[in-house]
Symmetry: C2
Subunit: 303 residues, 2 copies
DNA sequence: GCACTATTATAAATAATACTTATAGTATTT
DNA sequence: AAATACTATAAGTATTATTTATAATAGTGC
């Protein structure tokens, strides 16, 4: 529990003796009695094998050894003093912190390139690490600080989890540009149901928002491919007649043609979620703004 | 005895937990048991009013607050680590140490301009302080580190005091350039004794080396002005017919004419003296060389 | 030079607290 | 669901820091 067998608290006394030039006064400053200072000094003398201070006149004079040591001691103490007194600060230019995020693949593709650019510009030594955390584990992962941010359409509902809507876009029906649908003016609901659909979901079963909307109309679409990652779909769509119900910005970004859906469906939403313990952390606050900016930029870029 | 009421030794544990990601392993590193680490952590938690580490999986995850603190703690600890392990070092470029010297006025005039220039070039933040310490007090002042160097013709003879001859010059008889003596070829002893002499000495009574040499010849010179500071003599000499027995370099420096003394006298010598406790101190060693260089330079400049 | 003052060092006793062993509690893993 | 791995708590012990009281020492003033 001691650094090199040295009780670090002794250094506080050491510094006080140096600045006061007197053991008695040092004691008053530190708030202990003179014999306590004397005893602390004798421990330091043993440790450094040097008198450190020599009695002269009405006080003590530092030894050359003390002059050599005090510089470093003062520097170290003032670093601690500052960092312990000051409320937490985050200096992007200097920080080499790693921020861990949970993004699904569509969010990664949507904002990671934009975000990493912003981060790197402001904070060259900061690194980001993004790995997807399953929705069921989000609450825990955020609380345990395994990740500091999650982007998800349905973040945990918990008083400890803060969230903010950062992305919203309407669903459209996307397909390849030379698809026969491209010539049609509107997409009817019959046509929609008749098409071969791709469904992307991280879960093993269960439909998407669209399927819930259809179910309300007692309708059902024909899903012929179910996969976990959105980013594989452009390739599939371009070599088939399949369609993908996705956001307009996804279609735009991946150069797909699309039609407005022939029925009502709630928009696609993504929330940024974080644990309340990080709510006022300057580093997290800084990154939070950058993430929000990045999503906004993504939205306007592919609108 | 604690910095802001924080036991600094706890920070060693704090750092160990951070690097190990586990209280148990941190204990092994620091050399205490796991409950001791746990207790240290709980004190830190109270102090910082934050969990600091959150238990997750087979270890603990640092909190955002911890991330903010650890940077400074590590910096401070590594400064201490280095400075406590490393034998004393002196970095002229960084040091802001003040070196205290004892120089009489002639030495000040001789080397201080040269020395301060050298010092300032190599060590912009170092300062010098020169005040004369009476010969009787030198031993004490050096031992008590009130001064780290003394320049004196007769430094204390003591096994604890180290000394080195740093300046030697012959005595000459100096006077103003348009003095009638200037036309003479040599100075006879009769002429010398017949002149009006200035005698400089810090002591209230007693002669100089020259007077001792004359005494051996059972001779005596006529001292009509006794003063304490050499630096007033040029002005007096230039407005009178008085002469001053001084070193050749003093005469040259102050633009005086001079003649070789018509009798044998030991040369003027100055020793640099320091206490043995500073003998191997890097800062003192550094300055010692600079002082020696400065005297050598002074000698060659006014030779 | 001697007494007086101011300061540091030492001694003994006390108070504080850090550490250990033992155990309970709490996640995670298989 | 049991086992594992880790952290937290409790109680007791040992250590050590601090205090009061006193001695020793150096410097100051008459």
């Amino acid at each position: 529990m001691k650094l090199n067998n040295l009780d670090l608290n002794l250094l506080v006394v050491f510094n006080a003796i140096y600045t006061e030039g007197s053991l008695t006064k040092a004691g008053e400053i530190v708030g202990i009695t003179q014999p306590a200072v004397s005893s602390a000094l004798s421990k330091l003398r043993d440790y450094f094998d040097d008198p450190l201070f020599i009695r002269v006149g009405q006080g003590v004079q530092p030894t050359a050894k003390t002059e050599n040591i005090i510089i470093h001691v003062r520097e170290a103490l003032s670093i601690l003093q500052k960092s312990l007194e000051t409320p937490d600060a985050f200096d992007p230019a200097e920080s080499s912190r790693t921020f861990k995020l949970s993004l699904n693949d569509i969010s990664e593709g949507r904002v990671l390139p934009i975000l990493i650019d912003k981060v790197h510009n402001q904070a060259p030594k900061v690194s980001l690490s993004s790995y997807y955390t399953r929705r069921d584990d989000l609450q825990h992962a955020l609380a345990a600080n395994e990740i500091c941010f999650a982007v998800d359409p349905f973040p945990p509902s918990d008083s400890e989890i803060k969230k903010e809507l950062i992305f919203e876009d309407e669903f459209v029906c996307g397909f390849r540009k030379d698809h026969k649908l491209a010539k049609e003016k509107n997409l009817s609901i019959e046509q929609y149901l008749d098409l071969d659909h791709i469904h992307i979901s991280g879960r093993k079963r269960g439909g998407a928002l669209v399927d819930n909307a259809l179910a309300k109309l007692q309708l059902d679409r024909k899903i012929i491919l179910r996969a976990q990652h959105y980013l594989i779909t452009p390739e599939v769509l371009n070599s088939s007649d399949m369609v993908l119900t996705c956001t307009k910005s996804f279609a735009n970004k991946h150069d797909l043609a699309y039609k407005t859906l022939p029925f009502e469906v709630a928009p696609s939403q993504f929330f940024l979620a974080w644990h309340q313990s990080n709510d006022t952390d300057p580093g997290c606050m800084w990154l939070r703004e950058l993430i929000k900016d990045s999503f906004a930029e993504a939205k306007s870029r592919w609108h």
